[in-house]
Subunit: 486 residues, 2 copies
């Protein structure tokens, strides 16, 4: 089928020769050309692409017809020696795509620029083989043939589907099964999907080398995370002393969120939400509060089902509950270009993707068509993270400091408390870390397996707003090294 002059075949031949010395992985990675999920080329991609891309479906439940879509980019160089990193975006309010978010907006090899793809110089595939999963079913190109699935998705179901996904993905890519594995994600996905999947893998008998997890601006414990909101808003100018006082004395944010989720809103909390939300400007990007301004068209479309004139719903759903950024500001409204690109028929064909059950690919699903059980937000996952640390799985918890939806302050407190409860003493005192001789953020490490880092000047989507600093953080994490001190 392939002529002998095919450079890939030549590489394969050399690889076979090396196999004797280096073991079997060289051989199997050389078989990519036979993989039906291999992407020949993405429409309008840069001409110089020196790594392999794959995408397609993994059926996670035959009976119910659920299949998860993935996009896999091998490392730019020495893929066979680099770890495998699974990335999750996701949200319980509006399921958000890892392909459209993590890959195409944050740290994938390409960014969407108008109708073209351009190279991302800070792509995480310079350091690892990156596997972006659209999860749960209904998100992005992932689907369920049984649409009743969408009406009540839970953490248990999504963790099980993600676990099944990984096992079956390894059947497609057996050369990666023995590879060092890291799982990463942000916001709700970082706090729930990632720890739950890591726990599931760790408790299984499968020979998967799970080395660590990296979770960004994660929702770990709503009692701490939600109550960090008032304090963050107040200390960053968004609300007045009076509003802050109301939240502190009448109904705090975690109570407000809890009452909202359990449909038991008290008059006290309605009063507070109504008053506070009058101060919260719709022009602010709450996921990038210092630098960002909201993208008007995103507001118009992605929040179409939220009544912006109803302060209570607005506050509850947009600001308190919506833990996944759907705004873009440094590159305003880039989400629109991503959606346009991924809705092109030629792009879907190249990706082996299809839109099932929805009219179009959307980066985040509307709440009316896709409902994750919001009560899962009330279940803390910080102890699962603690159990992983105890099992010697490396945990990096990091935060973009400009996110007011899941503020670093709450996350930092949770990590610090976790360390204390595990009797871990700081192995690295709280200090600034550096990128390019500038302060890239702050960091602290506890024992050998737990560390915390702030990415300075970053939104919830750290790698979008601070790509260089985020790549350095990612690289240090994979290497198990402290962040630079100068």
């Amino acid at each position: 089928m392939w002529p002998c002059s095919d450079p890939l075949m030549a590489v394969a031949t050399v690889a076979i020769a090396f196999t004797v010395v280096l073991g079997p992985r060289w051989f199997v990675t050389a078989t990519h050309s036979e993989n039906p999920d291999r992407i020949t080329s993405l429409p309008n991609q840069p001409t110089t692409v020196n790594f392999h891309q794959y995408s397609g479906y993994v059926i996670v439940n035959e009976k119910k017809g659920r299949a998860l879509f993935y996009y896999f980019v091998e490392a730019e160089t020495k893929a066979a020696y680099k770890p495998l990193v699974l990335w999750f975006n996701g949200d319980t309010l509006a399921g958000c795509s890892s392909l459209g978010g993590g890959a195409l907006i944050e740290h994938g090899p390409f960014k969407v620029n108008g109708e073209s793809l351009i190279q991302n110089h800070y792509s995480w595939n310079t350091e690892a083989n990156m596997l972006y999963v659209e999860s749960p079913a209904g998100v992005g190109f992932s689907y369920s043939n049984n649409t009743a699935f969408y009406s009540n998705i839970t953490d248990v179901v999504s963790a099980e589907d993600n676990f099944m996904f990984l096992q079956r993905w390894f059947q497609k890519f057996p050369q990666y099964k023995g590879r060092d594995l890291y799982i990463a994600g942000e916001a709700y996905a970082g706090g729930h999907y990632v720890p739950l999947l890591a726990q599931r893998i760790h408790n299984s008998n499968l020979k998967i080398k799970l080395k660590g997890i990296a979770i960004g601006n994660p929702l770990l414990d709503i009692q701490v995370d939600a109550n960090a909101l008032d304090q963050y808003w107040w200390s960053h100018g968004l609300i007045s002393d009076a509003a802050f006082h109301l939240l502190n004395s009448v109904c705090n944010a975690s109570r407000l969120v809890t009452e909202g989720i359990t449909s038991s809103l008290s008059p006290h909390c309605i009063f507070v939400a109504t008053n506070v939300s009058k101060e919260l400007s719709p022009a602010i990007d709450y996921f990038d509060v210092v630098a960002g301004d909201a993208c008007p068209s995103v507001n118009a479309s992605e929040f179409a089902d939220l009544d912006r004139n109803d302060p209570l719903r607005f506050t509850l759903f947009r600001d308190f509950l919506h833990g996944q950024s759907t705004r873009e500001d440094r590159d305003p409204c880039v989400g629109e270009f991503v959606a346009k690109y991924l809705n092109r028929k030629d792009v879907q064909k190249a990706l082996h993707a299809k839109v099932v059950g929805f009219s179009e690919w959307r980066r985040c699903r509307l709440r009316k068509e896709w409902k994750y059980d919001l009560r899962n937000r009330l279940v803390p996952t910080i102890d699962i993270v603690g159990a992983l640390v105890k099992s010697k799985i490396r945990v990096l918890v990091y935060s973009g400091d400009q996110d007011s939806a899941l503020p670093f302050t709450g996350t930092r407190t949770l990590v610090d408390s976790l360390a204390k409860s595990l009797d871990l003493y700081p192995t690295e005192r709280y200090r600034a870390w550096f990128a390019d001789k500038k302060v890239g953020g702050w960091t602290q490490a506890y024992g050998k397996f737990l560390s915390f880092a702030i990415v300075r000047g970053a939104s919830q989507r750290t790698a979008q707003t601070q790509p260089k600093r985020s790549l350095l953080l990612f690289k240090s994490f994979l290497a198990g090294k402290p962040l630079p001190e100068a």
Copy 2:
């Protein structure tokens, strides 16, 4: 002396004709060519300068030989109809120049670019006649022939000198005596020099039309302002939960500062200062904490007398007490260019300036050569501000939200408390204000004469880091209008 074809004489002739209709001010503003303080041209200034500049000395104490230097720029257009605004930089730790700071770095008509002056498109002289005063003696080009003066300067002396300055300046510029007057300044100057001078003017019998004051990131009450530090540092990532806890439970910042000033440091506070300062990175610009990185050369020179290796002194003097920004970051180390420019002999000649008693012009004086009584920092001035409000003098208190030395949070609380104590109800609820359809900050107004505004994305030197937003704020203040709502 002037040929008849001199265009200024022609203007004067026309002006005299208009005097009959418009009253005397046209006439007197037309006499500027006879004023010996008039600046013909500043070396390397832009070729198109359409306003008049003056500078020189006003003797404020003949007996002791004290003279204050001023730089006055008339409004770009319709100077005769625009108010007079007095601007003060200043600091009790390191006396800082209004010419080198306010005028040449913040909101004057020119900025220093290498060896040249370039136009500042957001100069405040588009809205007002700006009078920059270097005060007290010893600051910038101002001097005292009796150098003993420098060993113990106080608020009382500086207010009296500033008051004398203004009276005698009006003798030089009688056309401005009846003009609407505003006084503005920032940091220590905003909290002390400005309110004290305003009070002195108001209590005098002089017919000066003092309309309002505008004070930026002012030190108004150290009990509130200093205690806002810990909270701000913690909520912006600079210190850990542990350090925050130490400050909250063992020795808070206002106690630390007070003990430092009164030379009564307790072991508890030394312990806290030592531990906290280990976390505070010297690479951070504490006056622009979100965006800025410290200027290394400024650290090396302007803080030469502070031992950076002594954490206590470092913390106390650099971070807690030093209420005047001496860093520049958006335009790194611009202070150096300013100092080079103002130390040129041709520049000093053009400015009618001289360096008396010091080896060179410096933007900020070193503590060893110039000592303001730091105990003045312990005296609250918030009630003086309240008295001005009661006297129907308009007060704008504003804050750059990136300053961690005099954080907006403490200032906002002080203004809110002042309004309550004066029984002023909000006439403008706490809300975002807009510049260029982006959120320029937040604002609140109380009664007719008191308002508060945050300038978003601004350092302590608001007009340097957010020139457009600051000019809009200044314009609205002078017009007595609320900030734009959209």
